[in-house]
Assembly symmetry: C2
Homo-oligomer: 543 residues x 2
Amino acid sequence: MVPHLVPRQLVRLFRWQVACARGASVQPRTWAAASRIPSLLSPWGAMGTSRLVCRSSSSTSPCAPEVVLTQERYPVTRLPFSVVSEEDLEAFERIIPGRVVTDPEVLEASNVDWLRTVRGGSKVLLRPRTSQEVAHILRYCHERNLAVNPQGGNTGMVGGSVPVFDEIILSTAQMNQVISFHSVSGTLVCQAGCVLEELSRYVEERGFVMPLDLGAKGSCHIGGNVATNAGGLRFLRYGSLHGTVLGLEVVLADGTILNCLTSLRKDNTGYDLKQLFIGSEGTLGVITAVSIQCPPKPTAVNVAFLGCPGFAEVLQTFSSCRGLLGEILSAYEFMDAECMRLVTHHLCLTSPVQESPFYVLIETSGSRAEHDAEKLSDFLEQVLSSGLVTDGTVATDQMKLKALWALRERISEALSQDGYVYKYDLSLPAEGLYDLVPELRARLGSRAKHVVGYGHLGDGNLHLNVTSEAFSPLLLDALEPYVYEWTARQRGSVSAEHGLGFRKRGVLSYSKPPEALRLMQQLKALLDPQGILNPYKTLPAQA
Amino acid sequence: MVPHLVPRQLVRLFRWQVACARGASVQPRTWAAASRIPSLLSPWGAMGTSRLVCRSSSSTSPCAPEVVLTQERYPVTRLPFSVVSEEDLEAFERIIPGRVVTDPEVLEASNVDWLRTVRGGSKVLLRPRTSQEVAHILRYCHERNLAVNPQGGNTGMVGGSVPVFDEIILSTAQMNQVISFHSVSGTLVCQAGCVLEELSRYVEERGFVMPLDLGAKGSCHIGGNVATNAGGLRFLRYGSLHGTVLGLEVVLADGTILNCLTSLRKDNTGYDLKQLFIGSEGTLGVITAVSIQCPPKPTAVNVAFLGCPGFAEVLQTFSSCRGLLGEILSAYEFMDAECMRLVTHHLCLTSPVQESPFYVLIETSGSRAEHDAEKLSDFLEQVLSSGLVTDGTVATDQMKLKALWALRERISEALSQDGYVYKYDLSLPAEGLYDLVPELRARLGSRAKHVVGYGHLGDGNLHLNVTSEAFSPLLLDALEPYVYEWTARQRGSVSAEHGLGFRKRGVLSYSKPPEALRLMQQLKALLDPQGILNPYKTLPAQA
C-alpha cells in the first residue's frame, strides 16, 4: 500500500530522469518552420534524412529537390483551369503590390508539405494582408478560372496545404493581426494567419488560454486550424472547434465576403453557416478571420507520466482518472513501448519511468492548486495500489511539464527520423483502440521497421504509424486498404483529426455513406461551381 | 467581515424561506404537457388565463378555440402546395397503419403552440415509429408536393413547431427509443422523439448527465432540441450542441436517409454535414436520431441564490465567481426585482433572500464535495465582504436546489399569467446586457404592465419580456423594430437561443448580412427544392 502523498512528495519518490535538456525545453513545439522561411530544409532536415528521395529525373525544378512531384507519383490529372500568365501576375501586382512571389526558391518551401510526401509546381505565391485583398484575388481567379491553394502554416498531415499542380498559393502569413480581445468574456477575434503559439502567448498574458493546442503550434495558423478542424491536446477538456469557434469571416470562391464574425456565444438567427467551413480544408471558402472563445487560464497545472503493464490497465486507469480527477482532467494521452524506444533513440530523450509496455500522460488543469494536488494524489494512490500503474512521476513546474509533454509530442518527429512513415489517424471505440497495432505487427512481420500506436485515448483517437527504411509499394499494399477496412468494420473514422487533404481523399467512403458523399459534392458545387478552391482535395475525384 | 464558513453553516446563517411546496418541487420542469395529451388546455391552462383570446368569428374550428388562426392574424400567403386528399390519407395509412390522426380534438393541441400565439389548421398528424417510415412519408409528400411540419414536444418559443396553414404534422412522439448507451464513453444514441427529461433520468442512472437542460425538459424532444440548437441552463458548462452532438440521422425532403449517426468524438472525413441540421428548425431535413456526448454526472452540486444591489455588482460577482469557482461553475443566471415580484405574486413562490434590485443564481457541479464547498465558501465570503452581494442562501440537498432553481426557471410561466407577453431573446455584450431594460421602461411608460430582464448572464443572453393586459398593436409598434435596431447597433443577436421559427423569421437581417441570407436560401433550395419542409419558417418570405 502506497502512503497518501501529495504530488510533491510523489515527485521525490519516483525517479526523475528527463536528462536531455534539448529535448526537454523549447524545441518540441515548433514544427515546420520551413513553411515560413524560404528554405529547402524540412523541419527536422538538420537532424534526420528524409527517405522520400526524388525518384524522377524528369523533375523540372532547377534545385534537384528531394520530393517527387505529386503529379508524377500519384494518379491524378490536371483539371482544365487556366495557366497563370504574365497579365495575371500584373493584375495580382496591382491588387497586392510587392507581395506577389515568383522566386522559385521561396516557392519551393510552399510547394512541399512538411512531411515531404507531396510536392506541387506552383509558380506564384500571393501574400494578401486584408480580407478585401483576398476577395479581389478570388474574384479575379474566379473570372479567369485560375485554381487557388489556400495555405496557412503548411503543417497539415495529408497533403492538403500544398498545390498538386500549378495552383496559385494564397498564403495567410501576412494576415496576422489580432483584431480584438475581450478581457471579460475571453473572446478573441483575429486574422486567419495568426500563429497559434503567438495567440496562446497573447491570451495567456491576459488570463486566458486558447481552447486548442497541438504539436505544430509554433507554425500553424489559426485559420488553418479551423479549416482543418484541428483536434489536438486540449480536445478532451475544451471540445471541438465546432463548439469553440464563435464566428468566421470567409471569402467565397467568387470573391464574396461572408461576414459571420460574431463574438456572441449564442446566435440562433438562421443556419449556422460558419460550421460549413470548419473542417472543409479550404475547399468551400477561404477563412480570413476567426472569432474564438478562450477559456480562463487554469492557475494550477499538473502532469503525471505513468507506466502501465497492459492496454487493459491503460483503459482502467482512464476510468479511475475520470472519476477521481473529474472536472480538472485536461488530457489523457497514451503511447506504447515502441514509441518510447523511438523518442529515446532518435531524440535523446530519457524515459522518466521504468520500462513499461504502455505509458500514459495525464494533465490536470484547475483553479486551486491544493485541491488539484489532493485529487491527483488520491488518484495516484489508487492506481498504484491496485497495480494499474507500476511506476510514475508528477510535475508541476513549467520546465518539467514541458519535458514530460515532449515525450508524447515529439513522437511524430522521432518517427520521421526512423524512415519512411505510413501514418494513420483513426477514431475507434476506446475498448479496442489498440487492437489493430499488434494485429498489424503480426501481419507485416519484418516488412515493417516499426509499428507503433499512440494518441488521445480520452477522445478515442489512435495514431497508428508504420515505418520502413524506404517507401515500399509492397508494404503499402499490405497496409491499405486493410487498415481502412478494419476501421470501417469497427464503425470508426479513417481520419479522426488530420482530415483528408490530397492523400486521403480516396478513403472518405470507408467512414461516410454514399448519400453523405453526394451531399458533400452538391455543397462543393453550390459554393465553388468552378472548383477553383483547393482542387484535388477532400472529396474523391469524380468519375 | 463575514467569518469563513462552509456552505452548510451559510445555509443556517441566511434565511431560508422557500415555503410554497407546490412551487418548490415537481411542477416547475414540466412544460407543455398539452402537446402530448389531446387537450385544449395550455400547460398553465388550469392556473392562468391566456389573454390571447380568439378575435375572429370566422374561425372554422368547431371548438371555438381561443387562439387566432395564424393565417388570419399575420400577413402570410399559402404557398401552392397540394391539399391532403382522401387518397393521401389512405397512402399514409398504408405506411403507418393506425397512426394517422385526423380527430380534430387531438389535432388541436398540435396546431397551437404552447405560448398560444399561433395556430395552424392542419387536418392530419402522422406518428411514425422508424426512420424508414419517415423516409416513406417524406418521399410520398415530396412526390405529391405536400407540405410537412415536423413536430417534437411543441415547446418552441417562436411558433416554429406548429403548422401555419394545413401542413401535415409529422410528430416524433412515437420515435422514443434509446438505441444505445456506452457506459464508458457516455455516448447516448437515441431516436429523435425521446423526451429530454426521460433521457436525463436514463443517463443519470448510469452515472452521466445530458449536456443540456431547459425548463421545457418534461416535454421537449431531443430531436427538437437539436433542430432548434437549444441552449438552456447547462450551456455555460458544456457548451453548444454544435460541440456535444456527435452524430445525426436525418431524413431529407425527398425521403433520402442521411446516416451520419456516428458515436465518435472525432471524425474529419469530409464536411461535417450534421452541423447543417443543428439549428435549422426542421427546414432542411427531419432529424430522426441523435448521438450525443454525455458528460460524467457531477457528484457534488451546490446552488447559491444571492441578492445584488445593482447590475454592476451582478457583473463583478460573475468575474469573482469565474476566478474562485473556476472549473466547477456550471450556471450563472440572473433575474431582476420585477421577475421576483412576478414569481412570488403569480406562483406563490417566496424569495429566500432580502428584497434586492437583482438576484443571481449560481450553480457549481464538481467531483468532490469538500473541495467545492471550500471554493464556494471562499467565493461567498469575498462577495459578501466586498458588498457585491447583500444577502444569500446556499443549498446542497435536492429539494432545496429545485426550489431555488424554480425561482429562475418559472419566470416564463409567471409572465404568461401576467398578461400578453412580448418575448425577446437577445445575445448582447455582457457589460451592457441590462441597459435595454430600463431604457424600455422609460420608453413604454404606462403602456406596459411589466418590463423584465433575466437570463443566462454567463452566456451573454438576455431574456427581455414585456407584458400588457391584452395584445396591443400600439405597444408592439413601440417595441419593434426598436428592440431589434437597438440590438443590431450593439452587434448582438436578435435570437440567442429561441431561433426564428415563424414569428421571428422577418428579423434575421438584423443579425446577419445579405450575403449570409443569400447562402441560407441557396442551402434551403439545394436541400429542399420544393420547400415542403416546415415552410414559412426560419428564412424570410422571398419577395
